[in-house]
C-alpha cells in the first residue's frame, strides 16, 4: 500500500520537474531563437505562396537574427499589423531610415523614411496591404523569415 503511494508521489515530482524545465526552455527558444509559421494570402507572390489558396508555404522565422533590430533592404520580415495588433503580416523590407521611396498608390509620390522606421512592401504589388497603405512602419517587428520549407507545403 505504502509502496504504490510512494510510486505516485515520485512520478508527480518527476513530472513537475520536467514540466518546469521543458516549458520555459521551449517558450524561450520559440521567442528568442526561431519558430515556424504558415503563410496565408497572396501579397508575397511569387516568392511566397505561389500556389495561391491550394498550398500554403511554411516558413522559419529567425528571431535571433533581428535581436538587435538590424535588417537589410530585401529581407523578408514578419511584423505585427499596424491596423490590427492581433494579426501578423509578412512583407519585404524595401527601404531603411533615411531612404527616399517612390511609392505605388500612396498619397505622396515620394516619401522619406523617418528615423526608427522602415518601408515594407509585398512582392505582389496591388494585392498587398503594406507601407503603400499605412506609411512607414516603426521598427520592432517579430522576426526574419529566413528559409522556406518548400517540402512541407500543405495540400
Amino acid at each position: 500500500m505504502a509502496q504504490s503511494q510512494g510510486w505516485v508521489r515520485r512520478y508527480l515530482k518527476a513530472f513537475c520537474k520536467g514540466f518546469f524545465v521543458a516549458v520555459p526552455v521551449a517558450v524561450t527558444f520559440l521567442d528568442r531563437v526561431a519558430c515556424v509559421a504558415r503563410v496565408e494570402g497572396s501579397s508575397m507572390q511569387p516568392s511566397l505562396n505561389p500556389g495561391g489558396s491550394q498550398s500554403s508555404d511554411v516558413v522559419l522565422l529567425n528571431h535571433w537574427k533581428v535581436r538587435n533590430f538590424e535588417v537589410q533592404r530585401g529581407d523578408i520580415v514578419s511584423l505585427v499589423s499596424p491596423k490590427n495588433p492581433e494579426q501578423k503580416i509578412i512583407k519585404r523590407v524595401i527601404a531603411l531610415e533615411g531612404d527616399i521611396v517612390k511609392t505605388i498608390g500612396h498619397k505622396n509620390r515620394y516619401v522619406k523614411v523617418p528615423r526608427g522606421h522602415i518601408w515594407v512592401e509585398g512582392d505582389h504589388h496591388g494585392h498587398s496591404f503594406d507601407s503603400n497603405s499605412f506609411g512607414p512602419m516603426q521598427q520592432p517587428f517579430k522576426g526574419q523569415s529566413k528559409l522556406t520549407m518548400e517540402y512541407l507545403t500543405f495540400y
Binding site: V23, P24, T28, F29, D31, P82, K83, R115, P140
Partner: protein
C-alpha cells in the same frame, strides 16, 4: 577528477539555462520591475523611481484609457518610453492646448493608441510623433515600489481635461 569537474560544469550550465528561460518567460508574459528615468511623467512618476510593470494586459488586449504603459520608442527601437494612454482607436483627441481658441480634433486610427506624459510641458509624446501602433506597447505600470514614501498604486491622471467625453 576531470569527470567530476566536467559533470559539475554541465550541471551549472543546465541550471543557468533553465533559470534564464524561466526569467525570460516571467518578464515576457507576467511582469517585472522597471526603473523609470526622465521628467515626462511627473508628478505621478519621478525621475529614477522604481515601479512594477505587468505584461498580462498587453497579451489579453486589456489596456484601457488612463493606464500608464511602457512602449518601445517610435524613434529608436532599442529604448522604451513610459507614458499614459489618453486615447484608444477611434477616440477623438484634442491636438492643441486648451488655451487656443480654435480647438482641433483628430481621431486615433485603428490599431493605434495616443500617449501623453503627465508633465505636459516637458514631455515628447503623441503630440509630437502622432499615435503609435498598439504592437509597440510592452507592459502596463500599476504599482510603485521606490521611493518608499510614495509606495502604492499609481494615481489617476492630473490632466483629466485631456480625456474628451463623447
Amino acid at each position: 577528477m576531470l569527470r567530476g569537474a566536467l559533470g559539475k560544469t554541465f550541471r551549472l550550465l543546465g541550471y543557468t539555462i533553465q533559470y534564464g528561460c524561466i526569467a525570460h518567460c516571467a518578464f515576457e508574459y507576467v511582469g517585472g520591475v522597471v526603473m523609470c528615468s526622465g521628467p515626462s511623467m511627473e508628478p505621478t512618476i519621478q525621475n529614477s523611481d522604481i515601479v512594477f510593470a505587468e505584461n498580462l494586459s498587453r497579451h489579453f488586449y486589456g489596456i484601457q484609457r488612463g493606464d500608464i504603459v511602457i512602449a518601445k520608442s517610435p524613434n529608436d527601437p532599442k529604448s522604451n518610453i513610459c507614458k499614459r494612454v489618453i486615447g484608444l482607436e477611434g477616440d477623438k483627441i484634442l491636438t492643441n492646448s486648451s488655451s487656443d481658441f480654435f480647438k482641433s480634433h483628430s481621431y486615433v486610427p485603428t490599431g493605434h493608441v495616443w500617449l501623453e506624459g503627465d508633465n505636459l510641458k516637458n514631455s515628447t509624446d503623441s503630440r509630437y510623433y502622432g499615435p503609435i501602433p498598439y504592437g509597440l506597447i510592452r507592459g502596463r505600470i500599476f504599482f510603485k515600489i521606490w521611493p518608499l514614501s510614495d509606495f502604492g498604486f499609481l494615481r489617476d491622471s492630473p490632466n483629466g481635461y485631456r480625456f474628451s467625453d463623447d
